[in-house]
């Protein structure tokens, strides 16, 4: 095709603008920063416009836009957080699902619901590695079907299911941990010595001796 139709931009805006809020919401969960989220949405929309010719009329515009947004995010913002994510990923895979399987733990989860704080939910979600956070956001906050999520993430539906499953489990584990943290009596935590922490006086003493030697 050599020429775009004259009303392409108007058509584009009519189709795309109604999805801005969903784009912004997902962008915010991905970038965890208001400024980055706005930039990400703008970049994704401009990019979508470049590829508007390739969008099939009548197909799922929201999933198409979210796929573009996710790709822009991956390319541009991910490098920054990579180190942190590798750590989180290692942590979450070793913690794994074992702790949550079996009925005993479900009681802990059950007890959780009455005490979940929005702040904690926000924090726990932000702590998930991208590949687990994205399916949780898309399924639980944006109500996308598995097929749509597979479309956005460009992966098979089976992968969506396993990531969603693991993502939710990690989230629950973090929330149980936050709740347990909040329950722990203050003085007890203060008196519990972590063997990995170095006592300041001890450190100074060692340093003096080391310096003298």
């Amino acid at each position: 095709m050599f020429f775009r139709r004259k009303n392409t931009k108007a058509e584009f805006e009519r189709e795309v603008m109604p999805h801005l809020q969903a784009l912004h919401s997902v962008a915010l969960r991905l970038t965890r920063s208001q400024g980055d989220a706005e930039d990400l949405v703008q970049d994704a929309v401009l990019r979508a416009y470049r590829f508007w010719d390739g969008f099939e009329a009548g197909s799922n515009c929201k999933a198409w836009l979210l796929r573009i947004l996710t790709n822009v995010f991956r390319n541009r913002y991910r490098e920054r957080n990579r180190e942190q994510e590798i750590l989180l990923e290692a942590e979450s895979t070793t913690a794994n699902l074992g702790q949550f399987q079996g009925h005993a733990m479900r009681d802990a989860e059950s007890a959780l619901f009455g005490r979940m704080l929005s702040r904690d939910v926000e924090k726990a979600l932000a702590a998930l590695p991208d590949e687990f956070r994205l399916p949780v956001v898309l399924a639980d906050l944006e109500d996308l079907s598995y097929k749509e999520i597979a479309d956005v993430m460009e992966c098979p539906a089976g992968t969506v299911m396993s990531r969603l499953y693991r993502g939710r489990r990690m989230l629950q584990k973090l929330l149980v941990a936050y709740a347990a943290d909040a329950d722990a009596p203050k003085d007890e935590t203060e008196n519990t010595k972590d063997s990995t922490l170095v006592d300041l006086d001890e450190f100074r003493r060692q340093k003096r001796e080391g310096g003298a030697a």
């Binding site: 020429f3 912004h24 703008q42 929309v45 401009l46 470049r50 490098e79 479900r106 639980d140 299911m161």
Partner: protein, 262 residues
């Protein structure tokens, strides 16, 4: 079909998401009627899903974001037509490219000197920006870009036998591009920016024909630049702290001369 508890467990998420259908759904619901523990787990999952939604409502769209995007869209020119060499890369011969070079030079010399892409290439070169991937192996640098660009980085952009330093992603006119840094003779640096061609004419005051290809050269701020548009839609901007002749020589021998098949 009867389910064991561990099988039922694998259905729980799909069920809470409304994705379990047909006989799977029936089998799961039958299991739940006979197993209080799984029924409880299923109710908890549904509550957890609802609770997430309740705790994390959709954030309000920031004031001004919509209009900001609308103004950004208004600035984007509606692409009118493809360049002939994008539409018919094979038909576009060296002679036509060289002639186009002369026409562009004569037609718009003023515009050529203000090319934002050249400004960006020079500034990226001068700032000696930190690289995302550091490696002297060209194939490592080339592999790093895989999946990060909208185009596959041609092997000509990272030729073997050159002295690679590393690379980073760059954003050129809202396209993702690759920026690769090389060490050339006697401590001189060469930066090569590769990105999808746009409707903008390629820039450079001094057209040359190198290895039969039209290349636009220029020099300012202590560096020389060479711009090359590869048939098929990729632009290359070479920036080096060399004079134009030396840069032309590097571009021609390392990047534009077809490799002999071994």
């Amino acid at each position: 079909m009867t389910l064991a508890c561990d099988e039922a467990d694998t259905f729980m998420h799909a069920y809470s998401d409304g994705e379990l259908t047909g006989s799977d759904r029936e089998a799961y619901e039958t299991h739940l009627r006979g197993c209080e523990a799984c029924a409880k787990a299923s109710r908890l999952q549904a509550r957890f899903k609802a609770a997430l939604r309740g705790h994390l409502p959709r954030p309000a769209l920031p004031l001004g974001l919509k209009s900001r995007i609308e103004s950004a869209l208004a600035m984007v020119p509606t692409p009118k037509r493809r360049f002939p060499w994008q539409a018919y890369p094979r038909a576009f011969t060296v002679g036509v490219a060289a002639a186009a070079a002369v026409v562009l030079l004569v037609a718009s010399p003023g515009r050529i000197r203000r090319s934002p892409v050249l400004e960006q290439a020079i500034s990226t070169f001068h700032r000696d920006v930190p690289l995302d991937v550091l490696s002297q192996s060209c194939s490592t640098v080339s592999d790093w870009f895989r999946g990060k660009l909208d185009f596959s980085l041609p092997s000509r952009a990272v030729p073997s036998g050159t002295n690679c330093q590393g690379g980073r992603l760059v954003n050129v006119r809202n396209h993702f591009g690759a920026y690769v840094v090389y060490q050339v003779t006697a401590g001189h640096r060469l930066g090569v920016m590769v990105f999808p061609s746009d409707d903008e004419p390629i820039a450079g005051a001094h057209p040359r024909v190198l290895s039969g290809q039209a290349v636009f050269m220029d020099s300012r701020q202590g560096v020389s630049t060479a711009v090359y548009r590869q048939p098929g839609g990729l632009d290359y901007v070479f920036t080096a702290d060399l004079d134009e002749d030396a840069l032309a020589n590097v571009v021609e021998t390392a990047f534009l001369t077809p490799r002999q098949a071994n």
